[in-house]
């Protein structure tokens, strides 16, 4: 998995957030954050809940991307199955709310409509699932890894489809958005702010992680596996750990996403979503801290604007994506801020 010759910027990952140097890249980052925060505030003041929710959607898709970016961008692990964690996170929220709603038990445990509990369970469930999938998949590399992560995600998808208890292919509604202590999660703006704060936390953790010893080892695992092993560090446990953390972040985003929509279905687990998530990370700029956010903004806005114009907007997305891969590989952030590789 050390095949990428693409140079990647390491300054974003190596420097902790809020480093005093604020070059062009820093300005782009500040602008992205400000935009993401201000747009829903303005929408809220104008009474446009739809746009607040749209911003929340962007933030959650970005967060799922931050998770994938840790594996794919920083770790060089081309996971084509991150929808599995997104969907499992979503199902944790849905199933927990379902049992809380009708008071029934799941394997002797009650459901909960407290988001804090749901998040903890989602993190745990996705972590364990990724541990199992990663343990098998990371024994391979290259195309095998891509296909195997895809296949395992598909396994989860078919399982959700054919398991009748929670709606099967029809999905599972969450009648009342799960709650939070002290915060009114029903209020679109409050929910947005919660999601935004969690996105920032996920990005801060990624930055801190990539600047640490663990991050140095992960970077070396991506760039040159032989060097890492020769230095005395086994690549496998480093990769597996990153893979698990990556899945947990994506899973948390999934739990919130189900609550945003009030609905969870196998569509969240579909391989289309895995593909879209990769597209978002690549559109934004692989391995860049702010790449997933930039990618999510571009993707969701394209979906909303193009999707409003034509039913076949994915056709045009395909063309754009093909163009980006063949001719402009540095992503949105690279295009806006210029590439400054090497740390």
């Amino acid at each position: 998995m050390t095949e990428h010759s693409t140079e990647r910027p390491h300054d974003t990952a190596a420097a902790p957030m809020g480093a005093p140097r604020l070059g062009r890249q820093g300005l782009v980052h500040v602008a992205l954050l400000t935009l993401t925060l201000l747009a829903p505030l303005v929408a809220h003041l104008l009474g446009e809940a739809y746009y607040v929710n749209l911003a929340t959607r962007i933030v959650l898709v970005a967060m799922a991307g931050v998770g994938l970016n840790l594996a794919l961008g920083h770790g060089g692990m081309i996971s084509f199955g991150h929808a599995a964690y997104f969907g499992v996170g979503g199902y944790v929220a849905g199933i927990s709310a379902y049992h809380a709603f009708d008071g029934s038990l799941l394997m002797g445990l009650p459901g909960s409509d407290d988001m804090l509990v749901i998040w903890a369970v989602a993190l745990l469930a996705c972590g364990l699932l990724a541990l199992a999938i990663g343990a098998v998949s990371l024994r391979t590399s290259g195309v095998y890894f891509i296909m195997i992560t895809l296949a395992f995600a598909q396994m989860v998808y078919y399982f959700a489809n054919s398991w009748p208890s929670y709606g099967g292919q029809d999905g599972l509604p969450i009648y009342l958005r799960n709650g939070l202590p002290l915060i009114d999660s029903q209020d679109p703006l409050s929910f947005f702010l919660v999601c935004f704060a969690l996105l920032l936390a996920a990005m801060a953790i990624t930055a801190r992680l990539m600047g640490s010893r663990f991050g140095a080892a992960l970077t070396m695992a991506r760039l040159n596996e032989t060097r890492l092993a020769t230095a005395g560090i086994s690549p496998y446990p480093i990769r597996l750990t990153a893979f698990v953390i990556s899945a947990m972040i994506t899973g948390l985003a999934g739990a919130l996403y189900a609550d945003l929509n009030g609905f969870v279905s196998p569509a969240m687990l579909s391989w289309h979503f895995s593909g879209e998530l990769m597209v978002i990370v690549i559109l934004g700029g692989v391995g860049r801290l702010f790449g997933p956010l930039a990618g999510a903004i571009v993707y969701v806005l394209m979906e909303t604007l193009l999707g409003g114009l034509t039913e076949y907007w994915l056709f045009f997305l395909g063309l754009v994506l093909l163009g980006v891969v063949l001719f402009a590989r540095q992503g949105v952030i690279g295009w806006l801020a210029g590439g400054t590789p090497h740390g």
């Binding site: 095998y144 054919s162 395909g318």
Partner: protein, 306 residues
């Protein structure tokens, strides 16, 4: 659990296996020779099915439709190779995944745009519509048997092509050493286009044949594509022999699992519970099979190279 049912399901599994082989052989050939991972392989399956359905509807000849479907898929493959794929051979797997994912979007949405979302219907011709008696007395559709026969013929044809012809020699040379075939003075670009189109034609043929069993619709190639991935991961990427064995293994295990797992759980569970658990587990069975095989053989059963 009668022997008749078992035989019937075994043949069903074999039929799914031969279809998967048609898909997987193209994928694995393209990977073995060009080192390319192609997600858009399912699109050629869809193209084959659509063209066959349309041609059959307008000419009334299923055989003509079948030929048109395979040829159209081959042509689509050649065009895609010339326009996009050949720019990807020296790129990372990530770029290949993204570009071919983009191709899926273009093919699927383009098809939806042209033909709408509602499925087209394609039925087997009347001379294949009957059924024959199996040992044990059950009747089995002739058409499905014909699919198996076609699959066997194609497998034999591929074997002869690769082991006995000049093209096959070049393909083998390309698999073992990409630099060497350049040195041998073989026009690599033509060879690559040809191999890619051949793979697309096989996928198109599979789509055409299956189109007459199921409905012809956008996205029909995707579940098959993912099964084909499982097949070549199990068989060893790049190996035709592995693709054949993997395809039959996956086809049979998947088919039998769907029938017998719910019955198995029915022995110690209530029927409705057993149906639920059994169906869900059956859906996961081939992936579990893949995981188990990988745990022992990370490069698949017949590893060629990575």
């Amino acid at each position: 659990m009668s022997a008749t049912l078992l035989i019937e399901q075994l043949i069903n599994g074999l039929q799914l296996g031969t279809m998967l082989f048609l898909m997987a052989s193209g994928l694995t050939l393209v990977f073995g020779v060009m080192g390319l991972i192609n997600l858009a392989h399912g699109s050629f399956y869809m193209v084959g099915a659509y063209v066959t359905a349309l041609t059959t509807a307008s000419t009334g000849s299923f055989l003509l439709g079948l030929a048109a479907g395979s040829l159209a898929a081959a042509a689509a493959g050649a065009v895609v190779e010339l326009l996009v794929i050949r720019r990807l051979y020296h790129r990372s797997h990530l770029d290949q995944v993204l570009a071919t994912f983009a191709l899926i979007l273009i093919f699927s949405e383009g098809t939806r745009w042209l033909f709408g979302s509602s499925p087209l219907w394609l039925s087997p011709p009347e001379w294949l519509a009957g059924s024959v008696a199996l040992p044990g007395g059950a009747r089995y559709p002739v058409y499905r048997l014909m699919i198996i026969a076609v699959g066997v013929l194609i497998a034999a044809g591929l074997y002869l092509l690769i082991s006995r012809t000049r093209l096959g020699m070049r393909i083998r040379a390309g698999e073992s050493d990409r630099e060497m075939i350049g040195a041998l003075g073989i026009d690599i670009r033509r060879l690559y286009t040809l191999v890619f189109a051949l793979g697309a034609a096989l996928a198109g043929l599979a789509g055409s044949l299956v189109g007459a069993l199921q409905s012809v619709q956008v996205g029909m190639g995707e579940p098959v594509l993912i099964l084909a991935f499982v097949v070549i991961v199990i068989g060893g990427i790049g190996s035709i022999k592995g693709a054949l064995l993997g395809a039959i293994l996956v086809g049979v295990v998947d088919t039998l699992g769907r029938i017998f797992l719910p019955a198995l759980f029915g022995l110690f569970m209530s029927p409705s519970e057993a149906a639920g658990v059994g169906t869900a587990l059956a859906a996961m069975l081939i992936y579990i099979l893949m995981a188990v095989i990988l745990a022992f053989k990370p490069q698949g059963l017949f590893a060629a190279h990575d």
